[in-house]
Structures are given as C-alpha cells and as structure tokens.
Amino acid sequence: MNGKNDKWGFHTEKSNLITLDSNDRSLVNILAEQVPSLNSCFFCGSCGATCTASDDGMNFRLVHLLLRRGELQTVNKIIRSCLLCGKCTLVCPRNVDTRAVIYNLKILIHELH
C-alpha cells in the first residue's frame, strides 16, 4: 500500500493532534506587535481566494492559523511561494496588512533560525 496505491493515505506518519499545551505559540504575538492589524483577522479566506500564488500553496489564512496554533513545521515552506503582490491586503475585509505580516514573518523566521 505504498506510492500511488496509497490514494487514501492509510499510512500517516505524524500525529494529527494539535497539542496547544506544548506548542510554541509565541511567534504570532511577536508578529502582531509588528503588524497590529493581524489580530483583526477572522479567517474568512479572502486572502487565500485572491492569492496569485494560491495554486503554488500560498495561503495567508492557513499560515496565520498555523502560527496561532503553534504548528510551525510547514509555515516556512508555504510562505516561500508568496510573491508579495499585495492583492490579499486589498481584499481583506478586516483591513489586516497581510502583506506586511508575511514580509515580517520571513524576516522573523530568518532571525530565529
């Protein structure tokens, strides 16, 4: 049941559980200090919908949620495809400066790394 036969993903390697007690959720607070509008996000998905790089895996809402839950493993890979075009910022109904968040997140990850 490997490779292409594993269509339904019977083999899962990682636990699916989000353990909020132990996850590091500090990153989002640092970001929100740099870009206060981040706290206004209500996860409507407009950003992901309009995203120029959405087909390449970019998803602002998802990144934001992953940070909030402390699930950091995939974050860097996702934001690598961001083109910083700023369309997400233009459609955000809560006026979150989404582009600035990704920009600062890139720098933050680099600094922490």
Partner: protein, 345 residues
C-alpha cells in the same frame, strides 16, 4: 388643520416601521402625518417576493399593512420627500421637497435603510457582468417565473450566493453586520432550488448568523431537504467566461484550499446602509453611531430615543432590522412619542 401642532406627530417614512408607528399613534388618538418619498407606502417590502423564515408571500404581508393603513385612515403623504427638520422653541418644523412647512410636537423617524450599492465591490463585477445580480434583483426575477433565472429558456445549472456583500467589510467602510442577509441567503437558496430542482446552489459564507426564531430550522431544512452547498469562504473575485457564465474564486477555508467554480448566476446578498441624509443629521444635531445609523441615547434604557429630545427612531434608520423588529420598534417609538407629548418623558 385646527389641531394644536404641539399635539401632532410627524412620521417620516411609510415603511413597515412607519406604518406600525402611525397606526399605534392613531389608535391612541394622536394625530399623525406620515411622509413617504415613494409613490406608495410599504418601503422595501414592496420590492420583496417572499419573506424569511417561513417564505410567506411578501405581497400578502404588504396587503396586511395596507389594510391597517386603510382601516385607521392614515394620512400618508406619498411622493413627498422630507428635506429638512428643525427644532425651534420646542416645536419641530418639517419641510418637504415642494417647500411646504408644517409644525409638530414630536417627530418619529422611520426612514429605513438604503441597499448597499453592489457596484462598489468592483471585484464581484456587478454592473459589469449581466449574470451578477443582487438579492433584491433576484426577488424581482422570482416574481415572474417566465424570466426567473432562465438562460435562453433553460434552467440554470449552478447558482452561487455571496454572503456579506457590503457588510462586515472595512474596505467599503461598513464594519457592521446587516443581520438579515444570512437568513435571506438561505431563504433565496431554497427558492432557487424549489424553482429549478436540477440546479446546484452554493452559498459562500464567512459565518451564518441564525439568530431569529425559525432561522436555524430553515438553515437545517436548506441542508437536509434542499441540498444547498454551504461553503465557508469569502469570495474574492468573479470573472466572466466565454459563454457569459461567471467564474468565482474563493477559498474553502475548512479544507484550506483555493477553490474555483463556474456558475450561471452569481447572487450578491447586499446589506443595509444608513438611509438618513447627512443634512438631516446636521440641521437637527442628530448623533450617529459608528456605522452611520441614527444613534439612540441609551441602548438599554432608551432604545428608540434619539439624541434630540422629542425625536424618536424606529426601524432600520437606527440600524439593520428585520420586519418584526421594525414593527415592534415602530409601536414602541409611538408610545415614547405619546409620553413625550404628554410631558411624561
């Protein structure tokens, strides 16, 4: 008119709130003049086909209101726009578009809301693509099954609704929730499915706020009985395809994936905006809330009391409201006005 102006009330707007207020005043023996800018009473109700949550026929409900107008011999000055209201020496002087001036002891503001102009959300293509319409447009179309949503006499195959158009959107300056669009969208989705059973209906929503009596049940009915697809994600933009259908971009936020779908019609559930012109606010010193609706003095103790003594508020001029809300507010404001006229504020 020989009645002492101090004992008369001007009701501005003959929508459901205005009618309810005027009827209540009349029944209490208080003389009321109702001003209505349109050619007939009924307000936005006249443009609606069916009402949530029971999908009652709007025309029947409207007739009920009109019967009350008739039975109580209400004096509705239709086609009369109120251009100015001023308070001088404890009396309100109401001026109309034709320059007529009358004096009243109290004013009951019930001039409702304006529909959000969907063209302001340019990314949805309203006014650019003919297959993008608003919820009131749909009501009008549904009145006549011969037009409805037919395309070249064929039933539509896919229809999508967009919730929260012009509401909860800082980009158009409206941060508030218009309250009624969620349930309107559910009701209209059912109506489309009922009319065209083979048509797939999708509702793109951010939250579904089923706060009223019977709302949640209708939502459940829409899922169970009508198979409406509720997709949690706000549509970001719409683009036309070669055959004139509309391609919609959204994110399926529950899955975390971008989503594209081509639909025959895109229906925008437009919200409510304040209907009171700024000039009225200025000449009266009427305060507004953050959203621009007429503000009341105290949300808990004095709802319906505007910042101006003797000026009362009813219906959607004070914020998004359903029909039953507006009727209740109309009656409550009428009672408040009577107390005011009797000196028992």
């Amino acid at each position: 008119m020989s009645v002492n102006p101090k004992k008369r009330v001007a009701v501005v707007g003959a929508g459901v709130a205005g009618i309810a207020a005027a009827v209540a005043l009349k029944r209490a023996g208080v003389d009321a003049d109702v001003y209505e800018k349109e050619s007939g009473p009924g307000g936005h109700l006249t443009r609606w086909h069916a009402l949530f949550p029971g999908r009652e026929n709007a025309a029947t409900v409207l007739q009920g209101f009109l019967n009350e107008v008739k039975e109580n011999r209400l004096d509705i000055r239709t086609g009369t726009l109120v251009t100015d209201i001023r308070k001088e020496n404890g009396l309100f002087r109401v001026t109309t578009g034709s320059g007529e001036c009358s004096e009243y002891g109290a004013v009951l503001l019930a001039n409702g809301f304006r529909l959000f102009d969907a063209a302001r959300k340019e990314e949805y293509g309203y006014g650019i693509y003919p297959r993008v319409i608003t919820s009131p447009d749909l009501e009008k179309r549904m009145e006549d099954p011969a037009t409805g949503l037919l395309i070249h006499n064929q039933a539509p195959k896919k229809v999508a609704f967009v919730h929260c158009v012009g509401s909860r959107d800082a980009k158009v300056g409206n941060r508030y929730c218009s309250k009624v669009c969620c349930i309107s969208g559910v009701k209209q989705a059912i109506a489309v499915r009922e009319q065209y059973p083979s048509c797939e209906v999708m509702n793109f929503y951010m939250d579904l706020r089923m706060f009223g009596s019977g709302f949640e049940e209708l939502y459940q009915e829409a899922q169970e009985k009508y198979g409406i697809n509720f997709i949690r994600g706000r549509v970001s933009e719409a683009a036309p395809t070669l055959d004139g259908s509309i391609q919609v971009k959204a994110e399926d936020t529950l899955l975390g994936c971008p989503l594209k779908v081509t639909v025959d019609w895109l229906i925008l559930l437009v919200g409510m905006e304040p209907g009171i012109p700024g000039s009225l606010h200025d000449s009266l010193g009427l305060e507004r809330d953050d959203a621009g609706f007429a503000g009341c003095r105290n949300k808990f103790l004095l709802p319906g009391y505007s910042s101006v003594d003797g000026l009362f508020l009813a219906g959607a001029c004070a914020g998004p409201a359903t029909i039953p809300d507006s009727v209740n507010q109309g009656r409550a404001a009428a009672l408040s006005a009577i107390h005011y006229l009797n000196g028992k504020v």
